[in-house]
């Protein structure tokens, strides 16, 4: 085992140090560890290349003299191999270290620790930045985050079962385009393949495994997608007029697009994204909230209240 490792390291060093492409025969001649028949060496080399590539090392193939039909050569470009952050200051190193530390105990912790190790190998001292950090930890998104980020980068198609608001299990096929976290929950936004529209899903509402497969060939990132507006909902066509007692109804006030004082009450105008969700929020506030408009919302609330009175009488 040790010999294979030595050979991989030696190959890396040789391909990094060379200024021009090294041909296979040059490699076999000069890099230690390539032994046996021509066929054996060939097989060894193919496997070694795959191994290095799987470690994320880019091996370039080319020929050093394009005019003649030369044998292909190989090299590793220093600038691709090395962590190149340009001229980096101690303060920047500290910021990156703090960013990595935010993952303590959460999904990307292991990757973050490896990144930290590389940062501390750059030979740049870090600044002691006094920034509040204890309150800022990333919430654990579970084991799915690495799969999702990879799917986003490679525009793969992900398939999962999603619990909708009626607890129905629906299979969704989505090309993910964004990942965001808010109030302790992680969300994926993506183009739902059935309706060809952007939808956002809360990851903990996914039931079971997420599988990633090759994405549609002609996929294009929707121009209209704005990651900062994921939580704003679709442009709402309708509004509700709701009276809220002064000093009450904070969750509704947060959603209101305008507010007008009516003495003991304030009248709010709220966009309606989902009638059932809004009805539920209105009911939560009991006698401190009263719906003026629209008629359907009043009807829905009256129907719920009648049931509530009946069920609890």
């Amino acid at each position: 085992m040790s010999r294979k490792i030595e050979r991989l390291i030696n190959l890396t060093i040789a391909l990094l140090a060379t200024k021009r492409y090294l041909t296979k025969s040059e490699i076999f001649r000069s890099v230690e560890g390539y032994e046996g028949s021509a066929e054996t060496k060939e097989r060894m080399f193919e496997r070694d290349k795959d191994d290095l590539r799987s470690l994320g090392i880019e091996i370039e193939v080319g020929s050093f003299d394009p005019i003649f039909n030369d044998e292909a050569g190989y090299r590793i470009k220093q600038e691709k191999y090395q962590l190149d952050l340009g001229e980096i200051t101690p303060t920047e190193i500290s910021l990156l270290s703090l960013a990595a530390q935010a993952w303590q105990g959460a999904s990307f912790d292991e990757a973050a620790q490896k990144a930290l190790l590389k940062l501390s190998s750059m030979g740049v001292p870090s600044d002691s930045l006094s920034l509040p950090t204890s309150a800022h930890k990333v919430n654990d998104g579970g084991g799915d985050l690495p799969l999702i980020t990879k799917a986003i980068a490679e525009q793969q198609l992900i398939t999962f079962v999603y619990l909708d608001s009626q607890l129905d299990r629906q299979e969704r096929k989505v090309v993910p385009v964004g990942l965001s976290s808010r109030s302790g929950f992680w969300y994926i936004s993506g183009v739902d393949q059935e309706i060809q529209e952007i939808r956002t899903f809360r990851i903990d509402r996914i039931d079971g495994e997420i599988t990633a497969t090759k994405g549609p060939k002609d996929f294009e990132l929707p121009q209209s997608f704005d990651p900062a507006r994921v939580f704003d909902g679709d442009a709402s066509q309708s509004f509700a007029i709701i009276d809220v007692r002064k000093g009450k109804g904070f969750s509704l006030r947060a959603l209101a697009s305008s507010s007008q004082s009516l003495g003991e009450w304030d009248q709010l105008r709220l966009p309606i994204y989902n009638l059932n969700t809004l009805a539920s929020l209105v009911l939560w506030h009991g006698i401190d909230v009263y719906v003026q408009e629209p008629f359907e919302l009043r009807e829905l609330i009256v129907a719920h209240l009648e049931k509530l009175v009946n069920n609890h009488g």
Binding site: A153, D164, G178, S181, L221
Partner: protein
């Protein structure tokens, strides 16, 4: 994470990362180095011995790396090709970009220099890992709140907070003695003793609207827990996701009953009201009656007008 490399590959990766690390930490104790790379001392000696055999083609002492670790302290020379750390992998880059995004919220707004650095680093890493899409993390709380909580926690002093209680539907001012930040079901809470409630309370971080350190030295009274648990029984009529999440029940079936414990009568009443025709509270009878009465007075108003 992500890929699980076979043992030889994992070891190859470790050796490649060892060289720049030793370069940046010449003379590091062998046991410290082993701890950083999370391997035993014996394994580290093994790794260093293997590295010693590596170098540029030729493999004479001139081309081989020069490692010294017999004294128990490790130093390296003649390894210029591997002296710089390897570039970050996709997962490592994503971890940094998301971490930077979160960090951005904890930087005071007047530190434009730091904010610019964060944007620069984030863009730089996106280029390195070839990422064109968008990831974003929105910090749960604002910078002022976070700084005050940190200060109060580290200097063991009290905080004056404005807190939005969803159960009571009010924003109240409270004086609290913060104990720690805890995570429950992925949500972060400030665990504190609350002088206003004369009891221990957990405040959800993203509902703390403001926080000011008071520098007052207060103590936590002994025997301060007076809250009583409410044991309730509920029956599911129409299962839906909101009910499942609110009562943490993953398998709701129409007609099934379950027991639920809570400390807050208001929370229970509001939860039942907001579930509408989805659930019925069976016991306790006094809360059941109070729900019926609340629903009736709301209904009266809709019928009147």
């Amino acid at each position: 994470m992500g890929k699980n490399f076979s043992a030889p590959l994992e070891r190859t990766a470790r050796l490649l990362d060892l060289v720049p690390y030793i370069h940046a930490h010449q003379g590091i104790a062998l046991k410290d180095l082993a701890a950083v790379f999370e391997v035993s001392n014996a394994q580290m000696v093994n790794d260093l011995t293997t590295l010693w055999m590596c170098g540029l083609p030729g493999y004479t002492p001139l081309e081989l790396m020069d490692l010294d670790f017999e004294s128990g302290y490790v130093s390296i020379s003649n390894a210029p090709t591997l002296a710089k750390p390897r570039s970050v992998t996709f997962d490592e880059g994503v971890a940094l970009i998301l971490g930077l995004d979160l960090l951005r919220a904890s930087i005071p707004v007047d530190r434009i220099d730091l904010l610019e650095k964060i944007d620069f680093l984030s863009a730089r890493i996106s280029t390195i890992i070839n990422l064109s899409s968008t990831f974003s993390v929105i910090a749960p709380i604002n910078q002022g709140v976070s700084a005050a909580i940190d200060q109060a926690l580290s200097s063991r002093c009290t905080l004056e907070i404005e807190y939005h209680s969803v159960y009571r539907d009010e924003v109240t001012e409270r004086v609290v003695f913060p104990i720690e930040i805890v995570e429950i079901d992925g949500q972060q809470y400030l665990s504190s003793y609350c002088y206003s409630a004369s009891d221990f309370r957990q405040f959800k971080l993203d509902r703390i609207q403001s926080a000011v350190v008071t520098h007052e030295i207060k103590t936590i009274p002994k025997d301060s827990s007076k809250t009583e648990k409410i044991n309730s029984r509920l029956k599911v009529l129409k299962p839906n996701r909101q009910i499942a999440e609110r009562f943490s029940k993953s398998d709701l079936k129409a007609g099934s009953e379950f027991v639920f414990q809570t400390y807050s009568q208001q929370w229970l009443e509001r939860s039942i009201l907001s579930s509408g025709d989805g659930v019925v509270l069976i016991t306790p009878p006094e809360i059941r009656a109070s729900i019926a009465q609340m629903a009736q007075s709301m209904l009266d108003r809709y019928k009147d007008e």
